[in-house]
Symmetry: D2
């Protein structure tokens, strides 16, 4: 019997990111309302594709989710069907089970798979494209570090949460003469720290791309004191690194016989600064996953919706194997073959870093 | 005696817009910290320039204002020194008093005037440039309707306020089966309505650029009912217009002998819809100036700061007569001669309007 | 056959109010987890009871609703089963159909009916109690005007929304020298205006309980000017009344041949003030239903949860015919017979009004 | 020469707390507007009183501070003039320097000293009262643990910040099946954890007053899994304690040769839980001082204002040696002699704890 309408499937992979639901909603609504496609969603990312766990996505299913963080399709981290942990003869072994996924897509009658995820998730998407599956990618990273797109959704939401925290810390820092450390996400790229630092009026921004020198931070605090500012706000990306290994005191912890989590760089830095800066109490806040959840910002809702609509347009035009992206203010697309593995770090010579320096922010370098 | 450093003056003109203080701060800090310039600010826009009312702008003056709406320099609306109301022989007459301003700048030793304002304010800036004054313009409009720049600061803040209001209205609309009307700013351009409508999950968006037909709105409400959605959310720009003059009932008010303010289009529309839609209570909210004040959004703080730094860079490079702007994600500049009078309306065929239509939003057309 | 467990039914009536879902959740969870009761909810208030439209309420149904405005049970306004509009012989007539409701409760096996509503909804609850139904009432009014309880949920949320709007209006009022009018809810009681006025730093608060004199408002604006404050913020309750009928200009509108909605008192007042206050632009904001929806405040979530748990405790103790309430900081209860019709207006001699006057707020009297 | 008006002095002591500025504003405005008193503020708490560092407090000084966290008077921690560190003959020694303070008050002509602070700060206030100084106390603690007053300002703000963080963590926890730990303030009293846990829909609340058993937490997580909830939210007060010393793994850190700060109990608990709970990633957030700063909540602005007005009323009535407080919904006062040292812990048998248990929250006991 002839099949008249297309059937598309969605999945979300990797860590949480505000805007996932907005993409799911935009894809579903556009597919149904504009093209009459059928839409399903695999649960738990690629794992659901392997286990054939899917739910129908209808106008009702995606109702009321635009503003919500999280993903109604759930997600899984690090599940790679090309190198997947399965039980075989009572043992757990890693195998390429991508054929199972391909088979499942066929059985289900899925014409196109829309994959929303970060670099890892999209790598698999590319690999499925190589296997002949019609794939469309939608980039997702809270860190804004994908080279192929100017902005990723979730980033503005994360920066806003961090900025609001900096606003809060300011009043206390000022009236109680404190050094306040705020640790934000960014293991490899310092975008969240950079933008929230500028927006939240930080005095020092520490990012992985510009290794810091403890003494320079102490200097900056001293300079501010001379100007009558008896407090300082430091925003530090998770992945910030010292220039010359001057993190001494907290090394004791790392040398402990047991692998120990210290709650991040902010706490280490607080320990180190405490020895060098007198007359100031130092306090740290670790925002953690509050940056990844909650209500999606206005900016991200619009960007996610644009991505979602664009993904369906690519399907309608049969431009498979591509990822939607934003160039300047224009929605565009790029081959998945070209985007994988290309990250976008903060360039220490970029306009934004210069802007920060111009208004007097120190990078501890 | 030789004057060693430059002196720059700032003024803000026109309606309020979140981000003005952030620009003032960025200009002041960059000018002082990077170039050792002296900075002053004229109060009340051009009026202060005419009356020679200025205050010094120092690191202290601009401390703690980054996130705050409003302008520490105050503003005035519609003050045009080239056509200014002055008393002469006991009568109020309109005169060109721009020479007084030029004289004041000279006496004060101001090298460059940085003007932050909308089309009207910048027109005067251009006219002062023509008179030989070193002028740098910074675009300001909450409506995002300047052709020369992709985005203006204040716009994201306004859209966020409107979106939050839509979020609030949603819960009640849904559980109480209401038609909710939200009136947002936008007399000539519908950008705020368009973006907040997409972000806030509106069912109908009414903007000046796309005249509406009352019956189409009623139709949309009816369609939703058939899908089991017993509520609808309508966001309407102040300047939204009916296609065929079908605003009947509220005409009575307009025909009254006395000019009467009805609190805007939302109330008129509510009156009209009430006659046509049965079984639904209709409620309207008029956000008014809550869209122009309060804390500046993260996005706008960064954009304003970039504009402010860029304005000082133009001064340092002696590129006078220009306005800073954003092209894609790049800060740039454009001659004031070219930017005046060029507005940017919502193009009914633009990607963003299509995105809205794709996910099922009606424009009442 | 012996029935082993109790079955309780919930319904929500009247206008929207943040906290309804929190009560529904707390009743359901406590009933199931602590007592093993079965719980159902009638949809659309009493109408659902009449039409026997109910849904089961389980741990799953009430999951994720604590913070959400609205009510998952929907509501209806003004449906009184003791005087209900029904079709009879082709005509709509008003009849007492309460016996149908009683019959439905019996058929469904409902032991106790929990009614969440305002004075009107609770009047019916009392009437059902008089008919022998086991009823527990939970007070709901955004206006905080129930005599039997010190605080009602929803009120703190509404005050917070109004206060945030006042915060936003402040920055613009100050930098642009505006008179800003904010209209908030409160047709008969001025609590929202009073508390948001104190919290939002208003200069004038107009409430139904203290009729105002236009000239006194103008006087206050003048006094502020003398102190160098060239702006004023006025918060006005919907039901605020003029002392001596000095609302002149806007009468034209009211005298129009067609009943016309002006979008409330704020717009009328703006018209009137505009004639009397020179040199100031006057702007008004009408918050409308944004005060009733959106996320429930922390305070209201806790109060609603306490009410919900207390309602189930009353059931367990078979203390029927009562309404839960808050006295000081203690949860208590009161007979429905005693609470109906007793409202709590703002006492012009109360501590809170005196506090407002002490810090210089005018009531326009 | 006869002195006609009173002069009152304010100081703020101890840690930051939203509402301090609101008290300062209310005291100043009421004192000036209602009684014509002169008002000054000592900077840096008691240290400023010792060093005679004061500023005049006028209507202008306190303008625009109502909503702001922090204190315009600054504060100092642990400065006790009855046991104060001073240099004497080149050495630092502890001395009673309270007479210097008394002398300063006399020289300055201060009639009454208003002290805003927590238990430590108020202890000194009482001691100054014993020395014959006219003192009025205003209670300040974010922890809400003062026995003499039902509610302290700052508490609602802190609970709201924590609740918002829990809201944010929820979406990610749910869609990514995480165990989320949120560490909130509360070294000795668990009020913030208790209220934010109820309001933020936590599954487990750990407070100092109810020691926890790790296994019970693991049990609760397991129970939720059986109900299909693959995530859990745990809110933990800084001072939460294990029942039987089952914190094993993180002991390594504590046994380190160097005193080490781990960023709090949340990180320790995460380490411990990680060993016991499989198949879940565990993430922790440490809110730190974001709970103490930023905008003051609506509730706290009103309470602070009431306290401030009441403090001046006590001065007018010459009821010295007292602290203002809230009993139920009534502002009252209590002798400083009676309030010092009386804290209010969470009673494990209180209604609020029972409410939490009723809706299924575990205390890990």
């Amino acid at each position: 019997m002839a099949k008249n309408t297309k059937k598309i499937a969605l999945l979300t992979g990797g860590g949480d990111c505000p805007g996932l639901n907005a993409v799911i909603r935009a894809v579903t609504r556009t597919a149904i309302l504009q093209y009459g496609y059928e839409v399903i969603g695999y649960k738990f990312g690629y794992r659901g594709l392997y286990n054939n766990e899917s739910i129908p996505l209808t106008l009702d299913t995606v109702s009321g989710i635009l503003h919500k963080g999280g993903t109604i399709l759930y997600s899984s981290n690090k599940d790679n069907l090309f190198d997947y942990l399965v039980e075989e003869n009572g043992k757990m072994v890693k195998k390429d089970v991508s054929d199972v996924a391909v088979e499942n897509l066929k059985k289900e009658g899925v014409d196109t798979l829309v994959v929303i995820g970060g670099d890892g998730t999209l790598t698999s998407a590319r690999d499925f494209a190589r296997k002949g599956i019609n794939v469309i990618g939608v980039p997702k990273t809270i860190d804004n570090d994908l080279a192929a797109t100017d902005v990723t959704f979730g980033f503005n939401s994360a920066v806003s949460v961090a900025t609001e925290a900096l606003d809060r810390l300011h009043t206390t820092a000022e009236s109680h003469h404190r050094i306040m450390l705020l640790e934000v996400m960014g293991r490899n790229a310092g975008w969240i720290a950079l933008e929230s630092g500028i927006a939240g009026s930080a005095d020092v921004i520490l990012i992985p791309e510009i290794p810091y020198d403890l003494n320079k931070i102490v200097e900056k605090i001293g300079e501010r004191e001379k100007e009558g500012k008896l407090f300082s706000i430091i925003v530090v990306a998770e992945g910030a690194k010292s220039k010359n290994g001057d993190v001494v005191i907290s090394k004791i912890v790392e040398d402990s016989p047991d692998p120990i989590r210290l709650g991040g760089i902010a706490n280490k830095l607080a320990l180190d600064l405490e020895r060098l800066v007198k007359d100031h109490e130092i306090r740290s806040t670790v925002l953690g996953h509050t940056q990844r959840g909650g209500n999606t910002s206005t900016y991200d809702r619009i960007l996610s919706t644009r991505y979602g609509v664009a993904a369906v347009e690519l399907i309608a035009q049969e431009k498979f194997g591509n990822m939607v992206c934003l160039k300047g203010d224009t929605i565009s697309y790029e081959s998945l073959e070209n985007v994988i593995g290309h990250t976008k770090d903060v360039d220490p010579n970029s306009e934004l870093v210069k802007v920060a320096r111009s208004i007097g922010i120190s990078f501890g370098d």
